[in-house]
Amino acid sequence: MGETLIKVEGLSKKFCRNLKKSMWYGMQDIGSELRGKRHGADGVLRPDEFWAVKDISFELKRGECLGLIGHNGAGKTTLLRMLNGLIRPDQGRIEMRGTVGALIALGAGFNPILTGRENIYVNAAVLGLSKQYVDSKIDEIIDFAEIREFINSPVQTYSSGMNVRLGFAIAAVLIEPDILFLDEVLAVGDISFVIKCLNTVRQITSKSAVVFVSHNMQQISAFCTRVMVMDHGHVQLDSTNPSEGINRYYSLVKHKQQTSGTGEAEILGLELIVNEQEAESAEPTIPHGAELGCRIKLRIDNSRAGANMVVNISDVAMNQVITMPLYSLDGRLNRLPAGILELEISMGKVELSSGKYSITIGVIDSETMEVLARAQGLSPFCIISDRVYWGKFVRYVVPQKVNIMTTSA
């Protein structure tokens, strides 16, 4: 336990933006490979090429799980494909000890005409396993995938969820690698299956060195002992504190500002107030549980006097997590007067899960319900906490009472 299994030094890979040129460079690379020269034109960028992965180094021991996070196109999958031996590095070196397994592209290689059972054998052979070994495990696979009644039907009749379940079950039951690569494999399937997968992966990860790519910060937070944040092929942060990495990832997330509406009202400005003080930076970092408020400056045309307003907190995916319609003390929707106004609103304690959020404001005509102004992506901020939970809204609770009925279970 604990020996170094993966050693990566100065790893780089370049890609080409232009298809025709890319094909031609491929031919050139084969030519130089056949002449015994180094791959990838000695690390010089040719026209239209860019570094998809640049100068990555790390070591990983057994029992460690490295989470790779970053935007689409940050180079995570490219790095994983190099580690998996699918493509060759242009610079640097990878050294790995032990057997390598990957939970990537589950069900690739399934033939739609063949039955689930037949495809298990094909897929296992692709993973390098013998028929005898699969014979001894086949029931376990079928049960894991929960598709016993369909196992003799052609795979083309399966739903996409069943496909993924079968693909995952084959790999999860059969492989026992020293080094494991996971790429977004747990993104689909119903929740009970996802939970089963997570538990299985956890079992595997405790015995192997794992590299894990995911956009799901809950999973990263739950599995990884270490996080690498990638951006445009470079490592932004390499930390053994996953929540630090996750917070850095959120800070890289951009909330796009966007305004719409009839233009008869306009949001002129928005300032966040954290714990009764004005936020110090453009993208403040706010600890979980802080008091949050905001100061909104807006203009409403005379013809639209009496408009209502709604303030929302939106997450990265622009889902509105909290909606706060403005009310007056008499219990009715607040009717805002015309003119240029400044409002101060207390939004209470922010008990949001860690992540990046922004404010969306809507101003609506109270009679016709026409949207006069809508602005989203305003004042982005990060909520930080030690752990990422599954819920968007996280409240720590202390049990009022714990009755011990018996002392052993």
């Binding site: 290689g109 063949l114 037949e118 692709v126 020293d178």
Partner: protein
């Protein structure tokens, strides 16, 4: 038991660098042999997969393996009988000559098309899963052989029906069959790396091979003189078709020497193009995207 396996595995170290694999030929040779051994089971599985899927989706089933050469034969018999094409004397009755010719040619073409076809069909798998790439080529060979056996069975039945008794030389025919598959695979393997990137190759092959067929004694007899005689004699495919046909029909092979030479060269080229294929695959996968 399990611990023992673990200990052996632990010795196994994988290293990836940008250096050409040719820089370390001994390691490359060792890996080639290791992957070849690892390919056997997978190649067999892929063959079973492709064949059963292929035949499960048809009504005519294995008849498809012979329908094209059969149709070709009938066309050529019609053309020669009706006098549209004047075919010079063949050493065998013309229907027998053209039927054996087109059947053997079809086997060669199957073998030639197989590598590019199967590798192209497996692009997604190649881009995402690491497995010995040789398995695909071997699976292609298996499938060619399977389809060839169907063709040969029909061929022998038809020959007997037409009153041709091959005699003891039929025992040598498997060698002829083997060299057709061998040479076809070598040509196909050579075209695969470029063909994976540029689809022009896949489109150009049928055109070129159609032309080659007319320079090989498939439907025409060997010309006796002139430039065409020289072309026919130089064509490396000529001895393959002639020798296989002679063994099958009980004639004495005239081009046995050239036949042996072509096979020796083919075996050498097979190893060379195998190396090229191995070296090229990761580069091609990178260019194919995922």
């Amino acid at each position: 038991m399990k611990n023992e396996k673990k200990l052996i595995d632990k010795m196994h170290t994988t290293i990836y660098t940008p250096d050409s694999l040719l820089a370390n030929p001994f390691r490359m040779a060792r890996e080639m042999l290791r992957d070849l051994a690892a390919s056997r089971e997978l190649a067999w599985r892929l063959t079973v997969r492709d064949l059963s899927a292929q035949y499960r989706q048809t009504i005519l089933g294995f008849i498809w393996a012979i329908i094209l050469p059969l149709a070709n034969t009938l066309i050529w018999i019609f053309l020669s009988r009706s006098g549209v094409v004047n075919v010079s004397d063949t050493p065998l009755p013309y229907p027998v000559y053209v039927f054996t010719g087109t059947m053997l040619w079809a086997i060669l073409m199957d073998a030639l098309n197989a590598p590019l076809q199967i590798v192209t069909a497996s692009k997604i798998m190649l881009a995402k899963i690491y497995f010995p790439r040789e398995a695909l080529v071997i699976a292609g060979i298996y499938q060619t052989i399977f389809n060839a056996l169907i063709k040969v069975t029909l061929l022998i039945v038809a020959l007997l029906a037409m009153g041709i008794y091959p005699g003891w030389s039929v025992l040598l025919f498997p060698i002829g069959l083997f060299s057709l598959v061998l040479v076809g695979t070598v040509i196909g393997l050579a075209l695969t790396p470029v063909g994976l990137l540029y689809t022009d190759v896949g489109k150009g092959i049928p055109l070129l091979m159609q032309f080659m067929m007319y320079l090989t004694p498939v439907v025409f007899a060997m010309p006796k003189s002139g430039i065409s005689a020289t072309l026919f004699q130089m064509n490396p495919l000529t001895p393959l078709i002639l020798t296989a046909r002679d063994w099958l029909t009980g004639l004495t092979p005239e081009y046995l020497g050239y036949f042996v030479v072509v096979n020796m060269i083919a075996i050498t080229l097979l190893i060379i193009f195998w190396i090229v294929f191995r070296l090229a695959m990761p580069i091609l996968i990178e260019r194919m995207g995922s």
